[in-house]
């Protein structure tokens, strides 16, 4: 786009740095080109997923992009391991929308961390950033009852209920 202002094209650099800081050790430094690279990547990432979500909306002749469209786009574009925890997050978000803020904070801080990782390179190990605080995956879905197949569950409920986090380590009974 020709006439797009820089502040419309990229995320604010200060916010990007703040997120990076929480991951890096206290003595670390970030070069300008690292900041710019991440900043550009974030814009590409958002555009990439939004474009795919929009395509789905157009096919289904809908004008509003929903959270489910975003999750669907992530899954389609290979971010399968993002989509599952995100759908759990969305489920919890909808459940707690009616609760008072204090109750919401208490349930968030009481539960252990759950992390997601996108499809990784075969030789890479998923990085450990469990120290980075209370993020979207820092809750225990089993304690919230997300693996129950509730008839009342809205949105991506069926998708969530069918998700078995231990499927890859289960063995058939002898």
């Amino acid at each position: 786009m020709a006439g797009v202002r820089e502040q419309d094209q990229y995320m604010p650099i200060a916010n990007v740095i703040r997120i990076m800081r929480r991951i890096l050790p206290a003595h670390a430094k970030i070069s300008d080109d690292a900041k710019e690279t991440i900043q550009e990547c974030v814009s590409e990432y958002i555009s990439f997923i939004t474009a795919e979500a929009n395509e789905r909306c157009q096919r289904e002749q809908r004008k509003t992009v929903t959270a489910e469209d975003v999750l669907w786009a992530m899954e389609k574009l290979g971010f399968d391991n993002y989509a599952h925890p995100l759908s759990l997050y969305l489920h919890r978000y909808r459940k707690t929308e009616g609760e008072p803020a204090s109750a919401r904070r208490a349930s968030a801080s009481a539960s252990p961390s759950m992390q997601m990782h996108p499809r990784t390179h075969p030789h890479s190990h998923p990085p450990n950033y469990s120290h980075h605080g209370f993020g979207m995956f820092d809750f225990d879905p089993s304690s919230q009852g997300f693996y129950r197949d509730d008839a009342s569950s809205s949105g991506s409920g069926g998708f969530v209920a069918s998700f078995d986090p231990y499927a890859n380590i289960k063995r058939d009974p002898l």
């Binding site: 995320m11 604010p12 997120i19 670390a28 991440i38 958002i46 509003t64 996108p118």
Partner: protein
């Protein structure tokens, strides 16, 4: 210029302020809007889902780049570390264009420097 990194911004209860953890929702929405047709709308939940995911994406890539720097005993994370992390984590489609862009910027900078001399 480089940026010195402080410690974590969490308080005693280890609960991090929303603005420290997430990118501004207005900016996320604005970027999404640029991709969508004029008449399209974006639900609040869609913006929030994207907002959360982008933060995780930054954390994920930074963590891998940081690990590389730690192994190589360097204190500064640079653009090449980020590109390497992207490629390592399977975001190969991002890594190469970013490397090219980075090289172009360096060439432009050196050309400008030569023009000044």
């Amino acid at each position: 210029m480089e940026d010195s990194i402080g410690g974590s911004s969490s308080n005693d209860n280890n609960i991090i302020k929303e603005q420290d953890r997430l990118l501004p929702i207005a900016n996320v929405g604005r970027l999404m809007k640029q991709i969508l047709p004029q008449n399209a709308k974006i639900s609040k939940e869609a913006k929030e889902t994207m907002q959360e995911c982008v933060s995780e994406f930054i954390s994920f890539v930074t963590s891998e780049a940081s690990e590389k720097c730690r192994k190589e005993r360097r204190k500064t994370v640079n653009g090449d570390d980020i590109c390497w992390a992207l490629a390592t984590l399977g975001f190969d489609d991002y890594a190469e264009p970013m490397r090219r862009k980075s090289r172009t910027k360096i060439q432009e900078a050196s050309t400008n420097q030569n023009d000044l001399c």
